[in-house]
Amino acid sequence: MKNLLNPYLWIILLVVGGISVVPILTGDASMREDLFLILMLVVLASSVNIITGYTGYVSFGNIVFFGLGGYFAFYLMQNFETNFVLAALVGGVGASIVAVLIGIPVLRLRGAYFALATIGINEAMRTFVANFDPFGGSVGMFFNYSVYNAYGGAKNALWFAYDGIVVVALATIAASFLIKKSKFGLGLLAIREDQDAAKVLGIDPARAKVIAYTFSAFFPALAGALFFFKNGIIEPDVAFDLLRSIEALVMVMLGGYGTVVGPIVGATVYERITALLITAPSITVLGVSLGFSQLHLAIAGFLLLLIVLFVTAGFVGWLRQRFPRTRRYLE
């Protein structure tokens, strides 16, 4: 794998890793919380980018794997006091197996039909889990605080979870890069552009798509395991939140569809804008007090519309188009 030595990969990893390590060094808990969320969104966006940005299959309900990973891991930790790392890996592998089983039939659907099916799968899973008693039904599950004892108490567990998300985020970025630069990745891009032509050129689309879908399931499942471990509580509406699923696609679009850096930039910018809007003071229009915190959805929507209409390629894509020479470096 000579791509492992690609300097561009190491620059991205060093930048992301370098920023991530700051709260660990300074012990800044509020920065840690901000970065946890950003890194988690980077994982979600970069992962959905593999099936959607590289392969061209719009996985609207990709959050289903985040939720499944979270539930599998949570269940093991709660009931069998399984070590977190093992529980998270089981969650990741479990979600990947589900991705294969779902992917084989569903990836035969094309375009809007596939997008709709992924929404249906997520909603079916959400409503099913809400009825599934071993997972706590609609109330969900919450930890005994003794679960955290193995990690040096609840406070240390937060740092442990943060270390975890840094590792998962870096792994996701590396995987996203290596896939894009591999022969397998070239096959995915060919499928995105024209599946039938790709098939004639010697690519087995069914197989390639399922593998891509599995990748886009594995990392979000790990992120889900971490997120709900950190929260100590998991419930269906949070685990299988369709809005968050769509937001991940918005981030991909914002940063640059099908690029490696795009989802990272998109996730960061999107999270920062939302955070800014939520904390901004309210304004009064026609005697009605309008909080930005309430308007943040509307403003996010407005920004998204502008991007979709005018900067279709996203920020990184725009750079690549505007300055073709950057194409060689900006993957």
């Binding site: 959607t52 569903v106 809007a112 709709l116 929404i119 909603e123 996010a300 929507g301």
Partner: protein, 287 residues
């Protein structure tokens, strides 16, 4: 089980089904004509509810006059929404149109939440109850069903008997061929989007005469519309109406036999299975 309860639940479900169907027809019409899945569908349904609330409660108009106003507002809003958010990306890949319409959803829900918060609203319309014994039906429901049927008939008359309606169907069949035949496709696309939006808004208005609602209620009807549209076949208005009635009946009757919380599980599983096995809908040609 009591037969009267079964009959009463079936009637209830059937009547609700007409309104579900009406909403879903809006979604399927837009998809059928331009292959766009309108993710602002639920928000537009909500808009219909609040339009009715504003016209009837705030301005004090008769609720059914308010419904007529809502109808025209829906048409106008749809045309405007088409030109703002869809026209520029009409030929782009699915993700683009999905996100373009989703952004409109965010804007409507965001502004709506800022103004109306997420607390419940209602429009009180009392037309009495009809029937006897255990089988009674609200007058408002009867009117809602009649309105749904009337609008459906009018829509079919428009699509199949008028020149403009035929043009819309030509555009749906083959946009470039329609263009060559001298049809103003942009106008037809905008009009279809307007009609689809109108159907969604008017169904929102009808729902508002029956139940309380919040700014987020439309989302439930959006997912129901997806299920219905898939049952009936994407792009098939008749299928949407039949699908709506089936779903309404299922919801009405299923709750007698199982926990209500299991009903959506069945709906969504059926949704995915139909997409996989009968992508043209239960009544469409086999895949």
């Amino acid at each position: 089980m009591n037969l009267a309860v079964l009959v009463s639940s079936s009637i209830d479900g059937l009547m609700l089904g007409f309104i579900y169907g009406l909403a879903a027809m809006g979604l399927t019409l837009i998809f059928g004509v331009m292959r766009v899945i309108n993710l602002a569908h639920g928000a537009v349904i909500t808009l219909g509810m609040f339009a009715l609330y504003l016209f009837s409660v705030q301005l004090g108009l008769n609720p059914y006059l308010a419904l007529v106003l809502t109808l025209f507002l829906g048409l106008a809003f749809g045309v405007v929404m088409y030109f703002i958010s869809v026209h520029r990306v009409i030929n782009a890949p699915e993700l683009t149109t999905l996100l373009a319409t989703f952004s409109v959803d965010l804007i409507i829900v965001g502004v709506g939440t800022a103004i109306f918060t997420t607390s419940p609203f209602s429009v009180n319309v009392d037309l009495g109850t009809y029937g006897s014994g255990e089988i009674t039906v609200l007058g408002t429901k009867i009117v809602a069903v009649l309105a749904a049927i009337l609008i459906t008939v009018a829509l079919y008359y428009f699509l199949y008997r008028t020149r403009i309606g035929k043009s819309i169907r030509a555009v749906a069949n083959n946009r470039s061929a329609a263009e060559l035949m001298g049809i103003n496709t942009t106008a037809m696309l905008a009009l279809s989007f307007g009609l689809g939006t109108m159907l969604a808004m008017i169904s929102g208005g009808l729902i508002a005469t029956l139940f309380t609602f919040t700014i987020l209620t439309g989302d439930d009807y959006q997912t129901k519309s997806f299920v219905i549209v898939v049952i009936g076949g994407l792009g098939n208005p008749t299928g949407a109406l039949v699908g709506g009635i089936l779903l309404g009946l299922l919801e009405g009757i299923a709750t007698l036999f199982m926990q209500p919380s299991w009903v959506p599980v069945i709906e969504y599983v059926a949704f995915v299975l139909i997409l996989l096995l009968r992508p043209n809908g239960l009544f469409g040609a086999r895949a």
